[in-house]
Symmetry: C2
Subunit: 342 residues, 2 copies
DNA sequence: TTGAAAGCGTTACCAA
DNA sequence: TTGGTAACGCTTTCAA
């Protein structure tokens, strides 16, 4: 008896199928120059022997690594590191991992690279960069090192077409329509002052929607690092004024809970006296009492599209175009259901 | 002019340093058979040229991939997938990524493999398996395929010594001591009925602590899938009884908020009428009102230790021993500060 | 203490 | 439509 082979190689497959390794390789890589009959025979042997191409060997030859990185931004609450602090980031991660696996790629979660050294250490074929800020330094480092990048949401002030996102403006507009339909006549917005496309879009959507419907604009700022308490404070001021809003929306994750607290302290009933909507969904909004209406920004869809687009970019596709995945889904919950549901 | 080299290789380094590739390799791999002078010279060239060994090439030769996987369990709330739903998992992830990077490894987040095929597709050198349940199927699949595994927390009913964790019993005991010190005389526990070492340990610690101090045991179960509402219901029953507890601890993530809600509905003051402690910390407990005392189970330390232990196991170390990282840290917050702080 | 040569498993290139 | 051969960058083995 021969000593047991430690691993099935392409050579074993070739011998067993009576073809050359080249042919096997061409078949599994869909090079399309094979006789269907040969193809079927080889694929059967592949399955029987349970062979899978070795990533390292393939990578050595092709120069690819079979790994892409998902770089999440440092969110305000994440403290000492890049982290998954929000449901949005979590679902983004899930979507990216599953899409990558479908492509036969591995997905590496990594801190956003700060310099060339970080980029070199990354050792991946490409990067999905989430929520780049205006003039994003990591993106500059990535570009300088020739690393293919696709961003989730566009970078403010950049015309790079390699990005994926939802139609932020349409999404916010839909939410405002819903509030109006439920009887809101004075809608305030709690937002933040940050160099991100997201905030620009939501603010623009709010402004144009107000103009369109003859609503007064009523805006206040919250700190992203401290959304709940600053939102509570800002809401208290607004709601105690002579002409208080009858609905508040916010585009800052976590701020809606602050509005809720302020309303409760002022003995306002929700949704009768005040409706609340969040432009970013999350589990806490679902379990809040009452549950808060929110926009599901389709993070899993966005992540999947980003991974696929990145794959195209890595493979040298030079026909880029932003991909708008959808308009988000409005998750209508008690906080804005003033009338009976249909 | 020669065409630009696409990548610096070990050969380039060797030529520039006037040695052979073998020598360079031996130096960067600390084989220790080199003249210190040669060594210094070579290392300088390595730095100057910015060379880094290519993972695929090295892997092809050594059979290693330079990647380890972190497999998180399907938490109750995670729905359709393995996810980071808790602060604990998030911090575990951060710790693992950073420890892996320090080891020159990449860390891959992956769903827990369900069968042999999944294990094969994983293509990693080893796996850190978080919170294996009793008779864990994925661990069996991993073992059958010869995949090195280290678990975070031990598997109930298994005597596999390759695990890392904190001293759960000591941690819970410390929390109970603190409550007693603050005046608690009747401490209830909200726990769950699941085949995990964690629950066994916390329940055992609670039981023996009660016996030791002559406290009556007062236990209720909550559903892990629905911790907040089931905890609220169970607490309401307990707190409305003839002999209500004056303190409640729970080892289920999210349950403490339910206790809080029940107490609020019953107009109990916290901590004066009721103290609340959670055996798992999380951001929501910090921002609850009042903030809730909790155990920090040192997830980052645990993850780091797990990665290092896994590395040892992969490298053939056969001198295993469970690693107890610590006793957790008791984060004392308002919910249990009945007396003035020291 | 060092180096030459032989691979590791795969794919690219060119010839048949 | 196929196959032979060389090469990817590194480590290992063995000889000097």
């Amino acid at each position: 008896m021969a000593p047991p082979k430690s691993r099935v190689t392409i050579k074993d497959v070739a011998v067993a199928a009576g073809v050359s390794p080249t042919t096997v390789s061409d078949i599994v890589n869909a090079k399309g120059r094979v006789d269907p009959e040969t193809r079927a025979r080889v694929l059967k042997v592949v399955a029987d022997l349970g062979w899978r191409p070795l990533r390292s060997a393939r990578g050595l030859r092709t120069g690819r690594r079979g790994i892409i990185a998902l770089c999440l931004p440092r969110r305000p609450r994440s403290g000492d590191s890049w982290v998954l602090t929000s449901d949005y980031d979590m679902r983004l991660t899930i979507g990216a991992v599953s899409a990558a696996m479908d492509q036969g790629q591995l997905l590496l979660m990594a801190p956003t690279p700060a310099n060339d050294e970080d980029v070199a250490r990354l050792e991946v074929d490409g990067v999905v960069l989430v929520d780049p800020e205006e003039g994003d330094l990591s993106r500059i480092a990535l570009r300088r090192n020739g690393m293919p990048v696709v961003t989730v949401d566009r970078e403010l002030g950049s015309d790079d077409p390699w990005w994926v996102g939802v139609d932020n403006k349409a999404a916010v507009s839909n939410m405002l329509d819903h509030l109006r339909e439920q009887g809101a006549r004075r809608v305030a917005m709690l937002t933040a002052d940050s160099p991100w496309a997201w905030f620009e879009d939501t603010q623009a959507a709010y402004a144009s929607w107000c103009a369109r419907h003859g609503f007064e604009k009523l805006t206040a700022l919250v700190e992203r690092a401290n959304p709940e308490s600053t939102a509570a404070a800002a809401s208290t001021v607004m709601l105690s004024s002579d002409a208080p809003p009858d609905a508040v929306i916010t585009d800052v994750y976590g701020a809606a809970l602050g509005v809720l607290r302020a309303a409760r302290d002022l003995r306002l009933r929700i949704p009768q006296d005040l409706m609340i909507g969040s432009a970013v969904d999350g589990h806490v909004l679902e379990t809040a009492s009452p549950p808060i209406t929110a926009l599901d920004l389709q993070p899993m869809d966005v992540a999947r599209a980003a991974v696929l687009l990145l794959e195209r970019r890595i493979n040298g596709d030079d026909n880029p175009a932003p991909i708008i995945v959808g308009e988000g889904y409005l998750r209508i919950r008690t906080s804005t259901q003033r009338r009976d549901g249909r």
